[in-house]
Symmetry: C2
Subunit: 463 residues, 2 copies
C-alpha cells in the first residue's frame, strides 16, 4: 500500500498540457522530486518533458501509474500497466458502473478480475487518488503552499474530500497526514486503508466517508483492530439517498440501521452528520488530550451562547462543571458586581480584565475535565482597540495555552462573528513559544460532540 | 415604538470618551444626523461636544435617552428621564435581576413599576439596544460601511444578535431592516416588537431569539396576528440551559414542550436550532419566491454532496424532482457519456460546458418547484483558469439568475470549499443587471430546511 503514498517513480497515462482534468497533477508531478514520466499517444513532449506513447516504452521501472484517459481506453491502459509490472495503479477516469451503462459496468468488472489475478493494487476508478501531506506527493490538485501538515487521515468515496474540504479545513487551521479517494473500489477499499493507516506513524485519527461497503465482515474485523479514533460519515440513510449513491460510485448503501449497529460496537468509532463536523471533531482528537471525566466548564462573554452550550451539554449526556468554592471565590474577587456567574462563567464585556486570573483558576479546578471557551467579542470594538487589543488577547491566549499544557486538559475555542474575528483569534491562539494547538470552531454543538466522543474514547482504554 | 428606530433627538446618559462599553455609539451618534446630547456628571466636553451634568439640563426636548451608567445609578437616571418627558429609554447597563443579587433585582422591579405608570417605553436593561439599517440609527457598535440593508428584522434577548451575528451575516451577503436587543425586558418585549414589525414596511421576515416570555397569552395572540414568517430560536431546552438563561436575562425558560406546541400552531412560525440556520433561512424567505410544490431539483458537480442532499430531502418530507422526459433528453444531449444522471443532476467536472443548457431545461421543467445548486469546484483549478473562468462562471450565473426570474422558482446555492471559493461564487452571483439575490449558504441541511419552511408557508396562504 505504501507505493500509493511514497512512490519513487510515477507514470501518468493520459498526461496532457490541455486545460482539462489532470493538468494540475501533471504539471506538479513533472517538476517534483517524484520521478515522473508522461504517457500520451498523441504528444512527444509535455511541459518540456519527453512523453511516451505507451507506459511499456518507459526505460525505467514504474512504482505507480496514474490513469486519466477516457473511460473507453482505461481497460487497455490497465493491461499495459500489468505488463509493465507497476506496483500500484490509480484510475482517476470516471464513467463506469456508476453511469448505469451495462457496457462500462462490464469493463469495470473486467478490471476488478485483472486486479485480483495480478495482485497489483488498484485505487479507483472514478476518483482523484491520493495525497501524502508530509512528503508532498499528490495525484490530485493540491496546493502545498497552503495545505497544512497534521495527523488526520482521510479515506473517502468522494472527490470533494480530496481537495474542497481539505482547502476549507486548512482555512480553519486543520492539518492532514494522508488522503485517499477510492471511488468505485475495484480493489483497494476502506478495509485496506483502515488497516494501513492504523500502522501509519503520521496518522493519529482516521476520517472515513463511506457510501457502502462490499466487505461487511472485513470492515467489522478491521474496525475491531484499529486502535485510533475513526470518525465516519455514511450517507444513503434515505431511499432517494441510496439511489443517489448508486449513481455516484455504484455503491449499495444498504440498511442504515445495520451500519449504525456496526459502528456502535466499537468505542473508537464515531458516526457524524456532515463533513464540517467530521473534520472539526478529528482535529480535536488530533490535538487535545482525552477527557478524564464528563465535566465541561464554559467560559464565555455571551450569556445566550453559554445557555445554548448548556442545552448541548445536556443533550450529549455531559455535565456542566460544578466548580469548587475556592475557584468561584477567586473569580468573584476579580469580576465586577454586574457580572453574572451561574453555571457558566459569563465574563461578559469584562472579559478583557478578568480573563487571565479566571482561566487559571478554572483549569486548576479539580472538577474541570475540559474547557469550552466561547469567544464572542464584536469586530468593531476590537478593531478600534487595534494593536494593544491584540497584545491583550495574546496575553489571554498565552495564559490559556499555558494552563492547558500545565493541567493537560482539553480545550476548544468556539469563535463567533466575521472572518476578521476568526483570523484575529487564530493569530492570537498561535504562539511560537507553544507547540499546543487549540481547535477553533464556529459551532458549539460540534465542540460539545467532540468532548463527548473524546470522553467515550478515553473511557474505553483501547488506545 | 417608532421613537426607538427613528428618533429626532437623543441623549446619552453616561457618555464617555474613555475606551469602555458605549464609546463607539457615543462617537458615532455625536457626528450623525441624529441630534445627540452627551450627559456625564464628570465631563464638560465629550468628543468636542458640550456635555450636560443631567439630562434635565438639556435645552431641547429629547425623543430617546440611552442609559449606559453603572447599575447603581440607573434608577436615578430613569427618574430624571421621566421628569424630562423623554418618549423612549434604552437601558444598556447590566447588573440587575440576572446577577441573582436581591438588591439589584429590586431596583429592576422599581424601574418596571415606573415604566408601567409613566407610559414611557423602556428597552432593557442588560442589552445593546437597537439598530435601524435603513436610516442608519444605532445604539450599538454598528459598522454601516459594511452592514447590508435588507428586509430581515431581529428581536433578541441577547447582545450577540445586535452585532456579532449581523457582522457574520453581512459576510454572507445577508441584509437587515431593524434589530432590537431586549435584555431583561422591564417593559418592551417580543410581543411589542412582533406587533410593531408586522406593520413595518421595511421588514419582510422576523427573526426572534427568546430565552423566555412573561406574556404567554399575548405572545400567542400576536403570533396569530403576524402575517410574516417568524423564525424563532428558543433555548433552555435542558435543565442546565434553563438555569443559564436565568442568570443571563433573568428569564424563566419554561417547559420546552409548551413552546414547541405554541410555535407549531402557526404556519408562519418556524423553530430553528442555531443562529446560522436562523439567518440563512430568513435570507431565503427575504429574497426568494415561495415553493408551489414539494419537488427539489438538485444540480451538482459532486455525487457525494448530491447524495447527502437526498438524505436531507427525505428527512424534511420533500421530494426529489422526477424530471420530465424532455428535460432529461435535453441534458443527455449536452453531457458526456461518463456523466451520471440519477435522481440528482450530477454534472461532475463537465459542469462548465453543460451547465447553461442544463439549468434552463431544469427551471423550465414543470415538475421543478425549486433548485438546489451545489457549487463544489476546487479552488486550485479555478485559480489556474483565472480570468476566463470567472467570465465563464459569470455567464453561468447570468443563466441561473435569468431562469430564476423568468420562471419565478426559488433557488439556493450551497457553496463548499475555502473562503476564496465563496467569494468567487458571491462575485459571480452578484450581477448589476439583475436585482435578484440568490442566497449562498454553506450547509445543505439549512437550504433544504429553508425550502421546507417556504413550502409550508406558501401552502398556508396567510400572507
Amino acid at each position: 500500500m505504501d507505493v500509493f503514498f511514497n512512490p519513487k517513480t510515477v507514470a501518468i497515462i493520459g498526461a496532457s498540457e490541455k486545460p482539462k482534468f489532470g493538468i494540475g497533477t501533471t504539471a506538479y508531478l513533472l517538476n517534483s522530486k517524484f520521478k515522473t514520466y508522461p504517457v500520451n499517444i498523441n504528444s512527444d513532449v509535455i511541459f518540456g518533458h519527453k512523453a511516451y506513447k505507451n507506459i511499456k516504452d518507459i526505460p525505467d521501472s514504474i512504482d505507480l501509474a496514474i490513469i486519466m484517459v477516457s473511460n473507453e481506453f482505461v481497460l487497455q491502459s490497465v493491461i499495459d500497466c500489468i505488463e509493465k509490472e507497476v506496483k500500484g495503479i490509480i484510475i482517476e477516469s470516471a464513467g463506469f458502473a456508476e453511469t448505469g451503462s451495462a457496457k462500462f459496468a462490464k469493463i469495470q468488472d473486467e478490471i476488478e478480475v485483472i486486479a485480483r489475478r495480478s495482485k497489483i493494487r488498484i485505487i479507483g476508478p472514478n476518483c482523484i487518488g491520493v495525497t501524502n501531506f508530509h512528503n508532498e506527493f499528490t495525484t490530485s490538485d493540491m496546493d502545498f503552499e497552503q495545505a497544512l501538515k497534521g495527523s488526520i487521515a482521510i479515506v473517502a468515496q468522494s472527490g470533494v474530500l480530496g481537495n474542497i474540504f481539505i482547502d476549507w479545513a486548512n482555512n480553519q487551521g486543520i492539518g492532514f497526514s494522508k488522503s485517499a479517494t477510492i471511488g468505485n473500489k475495484v480493489d483497494v477499499d476502506e478495509v485496506d486503508l483502515l488497516d494501513y493507516l492504523n500502522e501509519d506513524p503520521d496518522t493519529k485519527v482516521i476520517t472515513l466517508y463511506l457510501e457502502g461497503t462490499k466487505r461487511g465482515k472485513e470492515l467489522r474485523d478491521v474496525l475491531g483492530k484499529v486502535k485510533k479514533p475513526v470518525i465516519i460519515l455514511k450517507n444513503g440513510r434515505s431511499d432517494i439517498g441510496s439511489r443517489a449513491v448508486k449513481s455516484h460510485t455504484s455503491s449499495i448503501a444498504g440498511n442504515d440501521r445495520i451500519y449504525d449497529a456496526l459502528f456502535n460496537q466499537y468505542p473508537n468509532v464515531f458516526r457524524v452528520d456532515n463533513f464540517y463536523e467530521m473534520f472539526n471533531i478529528a482535529h480535536a482528537f488530533a490535538t487535545q488530550p482525552l477527557l478524564r471525566g464528563k465535566n465541561v466548564t464554559i467560559v464565555t462573554g455571551s450569556g445566550s451562547l453559554g445557555a445554548l452550550a448548556c442545552d448541548e451539554i445536556e443533550k450529549q449526556g455531559l455535565n456542566l462543571t460544578n466548580l469548587e468554592k475556592t475557584t468561584i471565590e477567586k473569580i468573584k474577587s476579580v469580576i465586577p458586581n454586574w457580572v453574572s456567574i451561574g453555571g457558566t462563567i459569563d465574563l461578559g464585556p469584562s472579559m478583557f480584565e478578568t480573563f487571565i486570573p479566571s482561566i487559571k483558576a478554572i483549569f486548576q479546578d479539580k472538577n474541570t475535565d475540559c474547557i469550552l471557551y466561547i469567544f464572542s467579542v464584536p469586530r468593531v470594538p476590537l478593531q478600534r482597540m487595534a494593536s494593544f487589543a491584540l497584545a491583550g488577547i495574546k496575553a489571554q491566549f498565552t495564559a490559556l495555552l499555558q494552563s492547558a499544557e500545565k493541567y493537560e486538559k482539553p480545550c476548544i475555542i468556539v469563535c463567533f462573528g466575521s472572518r476578521w474575528v476568526f483570523d484575529f483569534v487564530s493569530e492570537g491562539a498561535t504562539q511560537p513559544e507553544s507547540k499546543l494547538i487549540i481547535p477553533i470552531m464556529t459551532r458549539i454543538n460540534q465542540a460539545i460532540k467532540a468532548f463527548k466522543m473524546m470522553y467515550e474514547f478515553g473511557k474505553s482504554n483501547i488506545f
